[in-house]
Symmetry: C2
Subunit: 519 residues, 2 copies
């Protein structure tokens, strides 16, 4: 008997959901890089009837109570699709037909283009992609301490993200605050093009910054406008202002990205008990309504434009009001979000995270607990899956490394697996005398180099050896690792000509005054 | 609509497995203490056809290749059931009919008795029970450092285990090496009766120690021999000497516990690439065969005696030979073990763990990763789920606390959940103006005291506050917590008379010379 099997129980998973049927028919070939296939069957947080009631409540909320849309053109777009608009209050009431029509035209699967075809990423429910933490105002590491994020930090963190195959896309890791706001998007895009070939991110901080970003990608990727519009080459993240507001730059971002057929991720950030109801059911219903409204704007603007359903729902500590992550409520909210995402059929972004102030045991436990929620919920993109501290205020170099160990283990478990009769090893066991050992037997020797996951930062030596080697804890071992990675040369193909072109553009644009952010 | 739902997707789970059918018919009532209901549907590691081939291979291995049984009476017992025995080589060949007959008579569910009925624990597949780490030679904490385990350490760790509702049974936490080997079991049992009312453990270190243990339980619980034999009041753990040896004290323990109708947990410790084949399939096939042989001995000795299927399979680092825990291989081995356990139908003990030398990020990540393997595999008892360092050589006071945070979160997720239309909170959202907040609204105020999990050791304060409070990391916060718990008075009911009786017995037995361990 020699039977190829999917890593973890895939047949059962597929049997449970018709939506994943295409995955049986066209299994992805094994590859060195690319979105993983999530081996875990999606787990439900609530009964399906409750999810349906939440979905209907969200549709009713948009239709009857409406949402405040600060952007005049966005209001006109909604109106053009049949929504009722009140200009004085900026309220828009969106009928369910508009939402359901948007969910029909939004693509269920699409491929983001990286710097080369090996870096392309296909997003769809059932796929799995990781990103480190995004948009932290502070950077921190054990050597240089906690400081306001700089361009150097940004470039270094891009290099670290580039290094690990378990990171599939580039988030805006830290905010480079030593660069003037009107020039900052040039620094960010320079690093995301010249230091990495993974899919870059663009902030939605006004049309001019967005158009600059698109132009830099076209220049550096050396592609025509037509090629740019054929596939998404970058993405943005759109947060609503919960409850029930879509602000100016966010609406503009949705419109601009839709027109350019680039990808938006629509993520309400609904903290239970703060900007959202205290219950998982209430917070996720509100999040769902806001996401549907934004997805509709994308599809009204440009039917078929790629858009990702996004959620980020955790709870606050009711004693202090402080946000908490990696909690049971965060975990369950992820499961419920997954059920709602499957109602839309769209690729879905979820998040892990930690409220810890340093990279320590709390930080590790919260991030991993949140990660398992995302994995078991069937998230397509897990953002903030490494490095994220202080509820997103700081990005830790060491935590990026220590969380990568966990992500690399998950990545290892996602690999296709082939189990044969020889793996069961009857003969190896039968010929081994009682009390023997398998260290050097043929069955072991044939496999020992590839059978097991290879650790990144874990130290498996015994206590005496570990002590003799200086009693170095995981955090400090991680310091050595990120420093070593930053010493490694840039192995991207020679981009000197394109880099020159890119920098010429940047110089010109800075001379012209750059592009101040819109807020 | 008001619909009572199980915490996580239970209907789907039950639909997937006929074995769990009784759980729909007779749901356990909510209770303050007791085995949890595992809310996660069991996940398979291999295709069922491979599991069946492994099961058949294990049966064939016992029948054709045999197992070495060092204990003469055990060999006679196997022979009495029809096994072929060779006295000179001590080999026993066990036909599959003997194994299958044992699996028929072994009970699929039973209730262990604690110090009172509220501490009873029902074990069956689908139930979930945690234990901290067991049998460590060293104890360690940040105040007193790493030292050889003592009676004081043992008593303190028993108190800490007693404190947390997420620990359901008492393991032999550390080895109290300041007590002479022939008296040690008295010290251990004294602590496990007078400092806790949770189900105690007895080492299988010879019949005299076991009988002393049984007698101390009967004395302190104030029960007759008949009452003692009606239910299990304690348990032992039996390790085989992989590959394919059952040694003297282990076989004796199985026989003695079976005759007294007390519970044995049969756990081969099969490290892939060391005492077992390098493959998950090979290591688990060997483990399964050894466990089946031991379960058969229990049932041959006393049909119907309670016995738990046990597994502990992880891998070694092939570069150093060092054991590793919380790895992808450990995780998958747990999933496969769960499938094999479901073939037996018996309650099943699995294990988490860590190879880290101190309680740090590696330690947290490994233990939690291993835990998720056990949870998703459907383990009944998860041993070594807190405090376990150095692959079991040390038990950390701080790690017992920091791992408890994760277990408490899992415990929280196991609670039955009722979701209503009011939880979805349409009216609360509809009446909240766009941009408002839910901190003080009625929907929040009605729930804020109970809605969320309450943290044990996590610090959710912001960076400034955390720094002002002394920048205390999780590890040192854990120190304060265990010290506080050890200061709390013993709240067990007044057991003065029974304690006096127990200690009188111990004094007498020590005067008689105690009971040297058999090895």
């Amino acid at each position: 008997m020699n039977k190829d099997v999917a890593p973890l129980d895939k047949p059962k998973r597929l049997g449970r959901s018709k939506r994943n049927k295409e995955r049986t028919a066209q299994p992805a070939p094994p590859q060195a890089f690319g979105a993983l296939d999530n081996p875990f069957p999606p787990l439900n947080g609530f009964d399906d009837t409750i999810i349906e009631e939440m979905h209907q409540s969200a549709l009713k909320l948009l239709e009857h109570e409406g949402i405040k849309i600060l952007h005049p053109e966005a209001r006109r777009l909604y109106q053009s699709a049949g929504a009722r608009v009140d200009e004085s209050s900026e309220m828009v009431w969106i009928g369910r037909d508009i939402i359901l029509s948007a969910l029909k035209t939004a693509p269920k699967s699409f491929t983001l283009r990286g710097g080369n075809r090996a870096r392309d990423i296909t997003l769809a429910l059932g796929k799995l992609v990781f990103q480190p933490g995004a948009a932290a105002p502070y950077a921190t590491d054990l050597e240089r301490g906690r400081r306001i994020g700089s361009e150097q930090d940004f470039r270094e963190l891009v290099k670290l993200t580039q290094h690990f195959s378990c990171f599939h896309m580039m988030p805006p890791l830290v905010e480079p605050q030593d660069v003037a706001p009107e020039h900052r998007h040039y620094a960010i895009m320079d690093a995301m093009l010249t230091e990495t070939d993974k899919v870059p991110f663009i902030y939605s901080r006004g049309s001019q910054q967005i158009e600059d970003g698109f132009e830099m990608i076209r220049l550096f990727r050396d592609i025509s406008m037509e090629e740019f519009h054929t596939n998404p080459w970058c993405y943005t993240i759109i947060n609503t202002n919960s409850p029930r507001i879509l602000d100016l730059p966010m609406a503009q971002g949705l419109i601009d990205f839709a027109r350019a057929r680039q990808m938006s991720i629509v993520t309400p950030f609904t903290l239970m008990g703060a900007m959202a109801p205290i219950t998982v059911a209430g917070a996720m219903m509100l999040s769902h309504a806001e996401a549907l409204a934004a997805i509709a704007l994308v599809q009204i603007t440009q039917a078929g434009a790629p858009v990702c359903y996004g959620t980020f729902t955790s709870n606050v500590d009711m004693k202090s009001g402080a946000p908490a992550f990696g909690t049971p409520e965060h975990f369950r909210a992820s499961l419920v979000a997954g059920q709602l995402a499957r109602k839309t059929g769209l690729p879905w972004r979820c998040a892990s995270g930690s409220a810890a102030n340093i990279n320590d045991i709390q930080a590790a436990n919260e991030t991993q607990f949140g990660l398992w929620g995302c994995l078991m919920a069937g998230a397509t993109i897990v953002i903030h899956s490494a490095g994220w501290l202080e509820g997103g205020l700081a990005l830790s170099y060491e935590k990026l490394i220590t969380d990568s160990e966990v992500l690399k283990m998950v990545e290892h478990m996602c690999k296709p697996l082939s189990i044969s009769t020889d793996d069961i090893g009857y003969d190896a066991i039968a010929t081994m005398p009682p009390g023997g050992h398998f260290f050097g037997c043929d069955h072991t020797m044939a496999r020992y180099q590839t059978e097991f996951y290879q650790h990144l930062v874990a130290d498996l030596s015994n206590y005496g050896t570990w002590k003799d080697n200086g009693s170095i804890d995981t955090n400090h071992r991680a310091t050595k690792i990120w420093k070593d990675i930053l010493q490694q040369p840039n192995t991207l193909k020679d981009n000197a000509a394109l880099t020159a072109k890119l920098r010429q553009f940047i110089t010109t644009r800075i001379r012209e005054g750059g592009a101040p952010p819109v807020s």
